[in-house]
Symmetry: C2
Amino acid sequence: MELALAEARAAAARGEVPVGAVVTDAAGAVLARAGNEVEARHDPSAHAEMLALRAAAAGRADKFLAGCTLTATLEPCPMCAQAASFFRIGRVAFGAYDPKGGGVDHGARVYAAPSCHHVPEVVGGLRESDCAALLRNFFAARR
Amino acid sequence: MELALAEARAAAARGEVPVGAVVTDAAGAVLARAGNEVEARHDPSAHAEMLALRAAAAGRADKFLAGCTLTATLEPCPMCAQAASFFRIGRVAFGAYDPKGGGVDHGARVYAAPSCHHVPEVVGGLRESDCAALLRNFFAARR
């Protein structure tokens, strides 16, 4: 989560909503890390989690990330939560809960749908206050 | 939808699950078209809709696709449905319904979540039998 927080801080410095994500393998080795790049890429789908998932799989011979963990500073949105399922990620760990945009414990609750073929283990609230403070400070400074 | 079907057929010829998508602007001009590239890119998130949305926005000065239509041969999954919302697409039109993997009229029903900030108009069942037949024939041939 420390690496994900660093990615989130770097994103904030670029003027991006400060969310960071890291994919680690079963041994804990970092496969990929990314921050939000929505503004830089002019791509509303360029969330940190999507970028980290794609980069992690691209760096391996396997398109699936079985046994791997996606760690994000914010509860993934429905798009990223479903993407993590498609990549067959083993575990999704996140920091701050996101009642307004989250898709794991809120909103569409992607993994609760019976049609979700692969449901990862979910751990929320890691370094919750640090992750949330980053977002809160970013938006407070913009108001 | 004819273009989306052509993309789906081309995807099948490449060994991909035959799904195609097209993004058109308010005047009906084609901004982007894509077929499924999950196998070619070794990327489980490389659905036709995601690729078409990203390409359509990349080709314009605006990262949003307001007033545009995403036409797909299959009901978008939760990932693509949410992405279409993030791109602020005006309308989502699709062919075959997907009770097993769809995220619009089935499963997570992304647009039904009160937290979904932008809900496009949805039209399902266009050229439904042609779109469904492509998928059915593809999977029948693989069994």
